[in-house]
């Protein structure tokens, strides 16, 4: 069924809000400043409830089915985390309240910083960045502040072709020019490629490990040494931390600064596109540059330090996405060290299982042991006229969210699958069967795929016209 837009259902005089009692005299504001009441829709409470209940029914969420999105780690979002974040002592806390009145929150922040530092094998953490990309920016700002402090700012940064799109964008924001380098034939970076471009005008390298092909960058330590030798720093994109928790510490590989996506690795909900959280951890020598405020532990409890001499400043109005941080904290406390290690093990097992199960059906450009995800292409289907997009749309009809497609860019027609550790063998088997069925259909009934999806509320949407003649409000 179609659900009308809010304002189409509006009727003059309705109000779904319980207007609070006014127990003080009315004060007339100088009419010079008073505007007309905004033309918001006028609805009853039941209208609002039904409207959003229906909208929700048109959405696919994790609880609806598997979400095999490469590099986007869509794991189960535990319900208990929602309970923790909803405690009134947290939700009703003002961010500028005096330290002694917010010890609970400060303790949580302090300890979460410690946990993340331990997981990465680094010295310090800031929880302020609001999302993964914001974390990347924080990392770049740290690197920028470091070089500034060294007395010689640099102008370039090395970015491999497998990088997330946010990497170059974040570097640009700090005024760095991206130097793109290619992965080697095995899908991983070679020390030679890095050595060829690394110089003393280069601030460092941004590297994702495991990379977006799902492969562990085996030469990372060697690459880090090359970069360090020239006075550069190594930025780690931690989007794929889900593969290596408890297995290897990025700090041990020579990474100097790394960001997390708490909404990936640490089970906080994606919310249909945020809010996320993108903390960064850094090695000891970079700690002075972290943003303020910092949380400190003293004998009298926890306190916020609002200025430090070398900090690059502030990047969010308050203390980060606290509501998201609570959930990540609850998750880490629920899992413990052994649990997080198991997370990575099962995430890698699941990905390898899918790789092994589908490699006869889909082209596998890099047939190497993968980590948390595997990347296929549509090469085997291309002769039938069927593309990655067609298969992705068709898989919706089988009750699955499509994988990430056409990324990483280095792989033509990429199909990037990350099952995550919370999917059971049965669900994965169903997904494999569904994908095999789609591959079969690609040969036998390609029209079915071309017109897919068939089951959702709407069929394939015209994105070209949407962009050419944008209609962005009602």
């Amino acid at each position: 069924f179609k659900e009308a837009l809010l304002w189409e259902k509006s009727r003059e005089g309705r109000c779904a809000f319980s207007i609070p009692t006014n127990d003080v005299p009315t004060a007339q504001l100088d009419p010079e400043f008073v505007g007309d009441a905004p033309e918001l829709p006028q609805l009853g409470e039941f209208d609002v409830v039904r409207h959003y209940t229906r909208l929700s029914q048109w959405n696919f969420g994790l609880d609806s089915g598997m979400y095999p999105l490469g590099s986007c780690t869509m794991k189960y979002n535990p319900k208990t985390n929602e309970v923790q974040a909803a405690r009134p002592g947290f939700t009703g806390a003002h961010p500028m309240i005096d330290d002694e009145l917010s010890q609970g929150a400060l303790a949580l922040l302090y300890n979460l910083e410690q946990y993340l530092a331990e997981i990465t094998g680094m010295a310090a953490t800031t929880l302020q960045p609001a999302a993964g990309a914001h974390g990347e920016l924080a990392g770049m700002l740290v690197i920028h502040a470091y070089h500034e402090k060294q007395g010689h700012q640099r102008s370039k940064i090395i970015i491999p072709d497998t990088a997330h799109g946010t990497n170059p964008a974040s570097a640009t924001l700090c005024g760095y020019e991206s130097v793109n380098i290619q992965s080697g034939p095995d899908g991983i970076l070679t020390p030679e490629a890095v050595a060829a471009v690394m110089d003393e005008e280069t601030a460092g390298i941004m590297i994702t490990n495991p990379n977006t092909l799902g492969l562990f960058e085996e030469n990372l330590r060697e690459i880090a040494d090359i970069v360090h030798d020239k006075g550069g720093l190594v930025y780690g994109d931690g989007a794929n931390m889900n593969a290596v928790m408890g297995i290897v510490k990025p700090g041990d590989l020579g990474i100097d600064v790394i960001h997390f996506n708490l909404h990936k690795t640490f089970s906080t909900p994606h919310g249909g596109g945020g809010p996320g959280a993108g903390p960064i951890s850094v090695v000891k020598k970079l700690e002075p540059f972290l943003p303020v405020p910092r949380v400190e532990k003293t004998d009298d409890g926890y306190r916020l330090v609002h200025t430090t001499p070398d900090s690059f400043g502030r990047m969010l109005t308050f203390h980060g996405h606290f509501g998201v941080l609570i959930r990540a904290y609850a998750y880490i406390r629920s899992m413990g060290a052994a649990g997080l290690t198991d997370v990575s093990k099962f995430a890698v097992l699941n990905a390898n299982y899918i790789k092994a199960s589908l490699k006869d059906d889909l082209d596998l450009p890099y047939d190497r042991p993968c980590m948390h995800e595997c990347v296929f292409t549509d090469k085997k289907q291309v002769n039938t006229g069927i593309t990655t997009l067609d298969m992705a749309k068709r898989i919706m009809d089988y009750g699955f969210h499509p994988p990430t497609i056409y990324f990483p860019l280095v792989v033509h027609g990429a199909i990037m699958i990350e099952p995550t550790e919370t999917e059971s063998k049965e669900t994965i088997d169903q997904f494999i069967d569904a994908f095999k069925a789609v591959v079969k259909e690609a040969k036998e009934t390609p029209e079915l795929l071309k017109k897919a999806p068939h089951r959702p509320k709407v069929s394939r949407l015209d994105e070209v016209t949407a962009a050419r003649k944008p209609v962005l409000r009602g």
Partner: protein, 445 residues
Amino acid sequence: MRYLPHTPQDIAEMLERTGHASMDDLFETIPEKFRINGEMDLPQPLTEWELNAHMEALSQEMCAFPKNKIFLGAGSYPHYIPSLIPYLAGRSEFATAYTPYQPEISQGTLQGIYEFQTMITELLGTEVSTASHYDCGTALTEALLIALRKKKKLNKVAVSSLVHPHHRQIINTYFAPAGFEMVEIPMAADGTTDLDAVAAMDDIAAVAVQSPNFLGCIENLGRVKEIADSKKALFITSFTEGLAWGLLKNPGSFGADIVAGEGQSFGISQSFGGPGLGILTARKKFVRDLPGRLVGRTKDTKGEEGFVLTLSTREQHIRREKASSNICSNNGLNALTAAMYLATVGKKGMRELAQINHDKAVFLRDQLLDAGFEPAFDRPFFNEFALKAPKGYGVKRQELKKKGILAGLSLECYYPDLKNHYLFCATEVFSRQDMENLAKEVKNG
């Protein structure tokens, strides 16, 4: 562990297919010497019940609304949240969904955000709105960066010193590596921005003020427009208390080019400051300059209406280093929450609620004046205002904390000239009695 479904039999069957002898073999590509020896040093796992007890204890160590009376705004406001909002926004189809890149199975989020964009532009009198940013501070910064991109030859913007101090810190952070400069416009005697000072500034890409400003005073947006025009600069405004637009003339009506704002007041809990809701809206001509996501209306192959993310060629995942911003995920669920709130409150509720906020603040101000405070500025305000405290108030304020009352924010650390000045806020959540109590406490010294 209850989140990990693998049984020993599953593991055996799966390893057989992958051709690994053991779980450890899965990590064969990681050089042995880098593998962690032993376990990470993290606390022992808690059961769900131990976690509940632990988190409840932490949360009890907080001074928080509604248990406590916190007469504080300054960018985060206590407001009532209708019970339907946590229920609806908490439905997992919304909360656990990914970014709606696959529009066919994401129409709920997409229609919801489209409605958000519509209501926000209605509220602010602008023409286009992004799907959200992180918070007001980052949204305002992005607005200034738009101005600097539009005026490529300039590298300076004029920003009111009465913009939230934290927002100005963020601007500085983003500006530093890029070599941009923020010139602060000083404060006038009436607690508003001294716009005359802008006359002397040259080569500025934008003039930005916050209204109501950090001290609660309503700025003269008409004059900002004039000054900005005279400097051929973009006119940018921001706000931290969205409810103000239920009562005040909106920034669009003054001709603002870009409006940045904080949407936390729209049904989003304060949560120690985040996640909030960054609002970024503008006149239509800036549509391709706006960073972040946009939802647009379109049709499917059968001619049915539907919604998609659009104009993504501006975005980082397409443009990479040439993107207008690195923003990727935003605060989408909070935008949806704000839309729910605005739909619930509606035209009538918005006006009445705004008026109540104003009434309460005026009442509190009168009470405090009566209790010995002195006016700081003679300028209309919405629900926040600054006052000069009577002698000994610092001590009194400390005492009140023990009674669960947080009475105002000391302004001195932000504005050294405003010694003994405090910023107060009153919203619909404070009863007359709460305010009279506070005044009585102050009066009794």
